[in-house]
Symmetry: C2
Subunit: 141 residues, 2 copies
DNA sequence: GTAAATCTTGACACCGGTGTCAGGTTCAAG
DNA sequence: CTTGAACCTGACACCGGTGTCAAGATTTAC
């Protein structure tokens, strides 16, 4: 598929996809005219890259991790060096702390939302559009 | 307490504390000479601000949330407007999605770490410094 | 063969919290 | 007093992934 389709399927801008390639995170073959051509696996890879970015990892580190993953790109899946493993452990711990923080923040928001919801709902005005205790939460660990 | 102490106790730079004040997130009385003076509650407030920043909220929105919280600053604790509640719900959902992402990223890292740990540990070289399945994870929800 | 859609590279700019430096003032202890 | 630590305001810069525009080449369909 070409870059436009990949962009649509991953909801990631073409700009970013080209950036990923320049950073060595994403590979593509080229048509005779120089247009990028991606295989089906690219979709999952882009999604993964996005998640790792969202986790606060820098492109350089992501570039080190990707070859160490299984079934990401058919590659024989390298093994992380002890040095890299140490860094990854640090990152993982940082992410765990971040998750804990996010949970706290979410609870703070829920608190404010709930306190407002009560006020809005009780005066029997069916204006309570967004109220209610829909505290959906992703399962953790 | 003065800004230096608050900075130490919260592990937040003086620069940031002044920035928070300029954004209206943090208040302080002033000495005759103009030095900032904080009360004890400031510590918790700063920590909270940091968590909300880590959650990706912008200072403006944090400024709207803070007055709606209970026992944050003795203030009578305002109630969020329906408009704000809507925005907060959006934020909360975004944060929930972010948490889910982070968990996935963490698992990816754990995968890479584990695969390397096996290689390092099995060849009975006690070099396995950071290895082992210490998959500590914060409790969620 | 031609037009419209898609793609190419390159460059400039943004965001927004934070680091840091400069030049000057205030505080607290000797 | 005087001196050193702590604080003040203001300004410049960064980071790094992303938006966007420009000028041109390629693809695809008619």
């Amino acid at each position: 598929m070409r870059i436009g389709e990949l962009a649509k399927r991953t909801a990631v801008s073409e700009r970013s996809l080209r950036y990923y390639e320049k950073q060595g995170l994403l590979v593509s073959t080229r048509t005779t005219g120089g247009h990028r051509d991606y295989n089906e696996r690219a979709v999952d890879r882009v999604v993964l890259i996005q998640e790792l970015f969202a986790a606060g990892l820098h492109s350089k580190k992501i570039g080190q991790i990707l070859p160490c993953m299984r079934d990401t790109d058919g590659a024989p899946s390298e093994i992380a060096t002890p040095r890299l493993v140490g860094e990854l452990v640090t990152e993982r711990d940082r992410i765990n702390g971040l998750i804990a923080d996010l949970i706290r923040s979410r609870d703070v928001l829920n608190d404010v939302i709930d306190r407002a919801a009560v006020v809005i709902e009780i005066p029997d005005s069916p204006l309570a559009v967004t109220a209610g205790s829909h505290h959906s939460a992703p399962a953790a660990t």
